[in-house]
């Protein structure tokens, strides 16, 4: 008890790391589970990142759809990434962060396209940006925003 009081900054740091690790791992696992079930549910819906050309009279109408997600990293993983910066190599903590953000953004775009009655999405583009207070300071990326956008096409039923 006396140790905790005497080293308040150290104990606060330990608490932050523990909370970050526990909550971050839980949130990530839950997020991946939700991503997987939704991807499975939407796998029939066609999305491509090439431009498509259709036969005349095939397309009813077209409009733009987009989806975005801002995902933040937890305290523990941020610490891991800082340590990783010393030794170099794969920064797994950030890999899963951008992977989650990207898949979430694509899923949201698909959901918008589906609710608006589209048959497919063509010319998908992905845009990634580091945002938040730390975005301007070099090497301190706290959260990423991923935007997915494309052209949804409704086809005439033949």
């Amino acid at each position: 008890m006396e140790f905790i009081v005497n080293h308040l900054d150290l104990s606060l740091f330990a608490v932050l790391v523990t909370v970050g690790y526990a909550a971050g791992t839980f949130a990530e696992r839950r997020h991946y589970a939700s991503i997987l079930t939704r991807e499975r549910a939407q796998r029939q819906f066609q999305v491509m990142n090439a431009e498509a050309y259709f036969a005349e009279g095939r397309v009813k109408n077209s409009f733009m759809v987009s989806g975005s997600a801002v995902i933040s990293i937890d305290y523990f993983k941020r610490l891991l990434a800082i340590l990783r910066n010393i030794f170099g190599g794969r920064v797994k903590a950030y890999e899963s962060l951008v992977d989650r953000a990207r898949r979430e953004a694509i899923l949201r775009m698909k959901e918008e396209a589906l609710t608006r009655g589209a048959d497919m999405v063509v010319n998908l583009r992905l845009e990634t940006a580091a945002i938040g207070n730390a975005a301007n300071r070099r090497g301190r990326i706290g959260s990423v925003e991923v935007l997915a956008y494309g052209t949804a096409v409704t086809l005439n039923k033949t």
Partner: protein, 104 residues
């Protein structure tokens, strides 16, 4: 107004090109959201406030772009691209640009 990000309008013929149109907006979020976000930064996960803010801002940028296209007499914008940059601490610029065209 038809907006697409392919370089044509599927199923329509382009009659005339009117050149580049663009729209942008710079947004900052209020302090409350900032504080919430810094808490969320501890545990990780989605920052819903920021997602909403950027989505709104992007709609605004797109709207400004289509307004400009309408002023030129266009009825569609093709090849639309989005860009994001953080210009100052806590503020982000959302930018949309495309080509204004007249389709049949």
């Amino acid at each position: 107004m038809i907006v697409t990000n392919v370089n044509h309008v599927p199923g329509r013929k382009i009659l005339e090109h009117y050149g580049i149109v663009q729209g942008s907006t710079v947004r900052a979020k209020h302090v409350g959201r900032d504080i919430m976000a810094s808490f969320k930064n501890l545990v990780g996960g989605e920052l819903k406030g920021y997602t909403e803010l950027l989505q709104e801002a992007r709609e605004e940028a797109t709207q400004r772009m289509t307004t400009q296209a309408r002023q030129l007499g266009a009825n569609a914008v093709i090849n639309v691209r989005f860009a994001t940059s953080s210009v100052a601490q806590g503020a982000a610029e959302l930018f949309a640009y495309g080509t204004a065209v007249l389709v049949e």
